[in-house]
């Protein structure tokens, strides 16, 4: 009425202008600009100093952070069951059954095997010659991981894997062998029960990720003798 509504609106925006910055709805990615207090807190993670000590020790860093020149790596927490890129694969666990390739709805996994001469208890193990995954068409459904009977294939947890060329998105067997394998907990309750987090913990070896304990020799002997 007679312009009072306009003034009311102006007051609301003014209130928003002078409120502290904690109301910002935007999370700064991939790094965050910090002031001196937050910077000191970030440094305390690995060295036990108070804020005043931090200022005395690093005066240049403090001034820089006051001007707004310092940014720290800061990520949102990510669930350990996240289905992402960097597939994890263990050669020692894989028998070359190609269940993953059969279950893949897009048919982007290509496996070629040959006889290896290694005999397991149940039968012969194949040598995997080619293991290609075309990540450019992958939709991260995780069906290949669900299909794997020997816990050899795992989802990864990365998500910033953009490349300049489409060919670079193909993962071949050397890539899978040489990478540090940090498997995601997707469809792998044995990892989740150990509280494993691919983004915080290190890489896992092939004998740490199995669903079952490796049977001892006596167990094996009993099993075969009963039969």
């Amino acid at each position: 009425m007679f312009g009072f509504g306009l003034i009311k609106g102006l007051l609301i925006t003014f209130k928003n202008l002078i409120l502290p910055s904690r109301l910002f709805t935007v999370h700064q990615y991939p790094d965050r600009k910090v002031g001196p207090i937050e910077l000191a807190r970030y440094h305390q993670d690995w060295q036990n100093t108070s804020f005043i000590q931090f200022v005395i020790n690093n005066p240049i860093k403090t001034i820089k952070s006051l001007i707004g020149l310092i940014s720290i790596q800061d990520r949102y927490p990510q669930h350990s069951r996240f289905r992402g890129q960097e597939f994890g694969w263990y050669e020692n666990r894989c028998t070359g059954c190609a269940s993953c390739a059969k279950y893949c709805p897009l048919g982007i996994i290509k496996i070629e095997t040959s006889r290896s001469g290694v005999d397991l208890d149940e039968g012969q193990k194949y040598k995997v010659d080619v293991f290609d995954i075309d990540m450019g068409r992958c939709m991260f459904c995780g069906l290949c991981v669900e299909a794997c009977p020997y816990d050899a294939l795992f989802m990864g947890s990365g998500f910033e894997e953009s490349k300049y060329f489409r060919q670079e998105l193909n993962i071949d067997i050397n890539n899978l062998k040489n990478n540090d394998t940090k498997p995601s907990n997707w469809f792998r309750p044995q990892l989740e029960s150990k509280n494993y987090d691919p983004r915080r913990n290190g890489a896992l070896e092939w004998d740490q990720v199995g669903r079952h304990q490796k049977p001892t020799d006596t167990d094996q002997a009993n099993k075969w003798s009963k039969r």
């Binding site: 007679f2 312009g3 306009l6 609106g9 102006l10 609301i12 925006t13 003014f14 928003n16 202008l17 109301l23 910002f24 709805t25 935007v26 700064q28 600009k33 001007i67 707004g68 020149l69």
Partner: protein, 404 residues
């Protein structure tokens, strides 16, 4: 800083030059400095506006490039210069290329008459306010040139609305200036100074109390009409980006678009300079601070108010804008002129002098008058006073069958 200082410096450095050469050299030098300072101010205004708008809307705004994102305008400019400068095939190329310049130059020309000290940069112009009214009228032409020559229907829509709006808001703006000139003439005559009432220096000289306190109605009309003249929110009808793409500069790209963008953010600075000279006392203020600093601070505060208004109020409709100009601002400015003339004549004729105490009395009367006249006009022309059109319900729409 003045042109005389530059002439003295050049004369002492190279004695024996002809007078006209010295004048031209110093004029070019001073305009170079002033134009660069103004353009840099415009670039910083871009940063300030984006940052403050973001803060009001709970965002962060540009914060990557330089401390607090201060170099963002530089990055923007480099990007825009790098872009291809496209001209539509059916465009009128001469006018298309001329339009950004016609829009930019008047905004820069305004700063030629702003008194930063007791004089403006290029000496005192004794028809300064007429010069400003004439020069700022050019933006109507520039907007229409840009829209017509680019052969784009959305650009033309924007320009047609814009020209109607700019022309109608020029009337109350000029009328509010007349009341200022009237008051200045009274006060200067009493002082016995030989300054012209039309010059900005004279207007600053006459402000024993700032004119926005003495004439609240005139200040309100001028600020409203000026924000419509530079087509900012809530009057950004020309380039209403949610309706018309980008309005009159839809077809522009590259450096020409950069000039449009710069002008859009320079206009509040220029308008703030005019308002601070005409209504907020210009260089007058605290005596121990230099006048130019006071003027810059006043300009800054008024620019902040413009940004605040832009962040708050939504855009008006076309008919609302025209109604507001012709039904509200025009009667208000007529009331303003007549009331100022009558009140000043009454106070002047009693003892042929207007003291500062009498000025405060006049200010008090004017504030009451402003309240009453706004109230009455809102009653007369406001939407509550109008008859509402009650829609007649259609029989078909109800879908009810009545058996006879």
């Amino acid at each position: 800083m003045n042109i005389n200082n530059f002439q003295n410096i050049i004369n002492s450095l190279i004695p024996g030059l002809p007078t006209w050469l010295v004048f031209i050299t110093s004029a070019i030098l001073i305009s170079f400095i002033v134009i660069n300072a103004v353009v840099i101010t415009g670039a910083l205004t871009v940063w300030l506006e984006r940052r403050l708008l973001a803060r009001i809307q709970s965002r962060l705004g540009p914060n990557r490039w330089g401390p607090f994102g201060l170099f963002t305008p530089v990055a923007d400019l480099i990007k825009m210069i790098g872009k291809e400068d496209t001209v539509p095939a059916t465009a009128d190329k001469k006018i298309f290329n001329l339009a950004p310049i016609v829009l930019l130059v008047p905004v820069l020309l305004v700063f030629a008459v702003i008194p930063m000290s007791n004089n403006s940069f290029l000496g005192q112009l004794n028809i300064g306010i007429l010069f400003i009214v004439g020069v700022t009228g050019f933006n109507t032409l520039a907007v229409f040139m840009a829209a017509w020559s680019s052969r784009n229907k959305y650009a033309l829509f924007g320009a047609m609305r814009g020209v109607a709006m700019l022309l109608s808001y020029e009337v109350p703006m000029a009328l509010s200036i007349i009341s200022i000139v009237l008051t200045t003439n009274f006060l200067l005559n009493i002082d016995g100074s030989n300054l012209s009432a039309l010059s900005l220096v004279g207007i600053v000289q006459a402000q024993k109390i700032p004119f926005f306190i003495l004439q609240p109605l005139g200040a309100l009309i001028f600020v409203t009409a000026a924000s419509a003249e530079m087509s900012r929110a809530p009057f950004d009808m020309i380039e209403s980006e949610s309706e018309l793409g980008a309005g009159y500069h839809t077809e522009y790209s590259g450096i020409k678009f950069a000039i449009f963008q710069l002008t859009e953010f320079l206009a509040p600075v220029a308008t703030a300079a005019i308002i601070s000279v005409m209504f907020a006392g210009g260089i007058k203020g605290l005596s121990f601070i230099p006048g130019s600093v006071i003027l810059v601070v006043k300009i800054f505060v008024i620019v902040l108010i413009f940004i605040w208004i832009r962040a708050t109020w939504p855009r008006l409709r076309v008919d609302q804008i025209m109604n507001f100009a012709w039904k509200f601002l025009l009667p208000l400015s007529v009331i303003n002129i007549f009331s100022q003339a009558i009140i000043l004549q009454i106070f002047y004729s009693s003892d042929s002098i207007i003291t500062i105490n009498e000025l405060w009395t006049i200010a008090f009367i004017n504030w009451i008058l402003a309240g009453i006249s706004i109230f009455l006009l809102a009653k007369l022309f406001g939407h509550k006073g109008r008859d509402k059109n009650i829609p007649i319900p259609s029989k078909l729409a109800n879908m009810e069958f009545t058996s006879e």
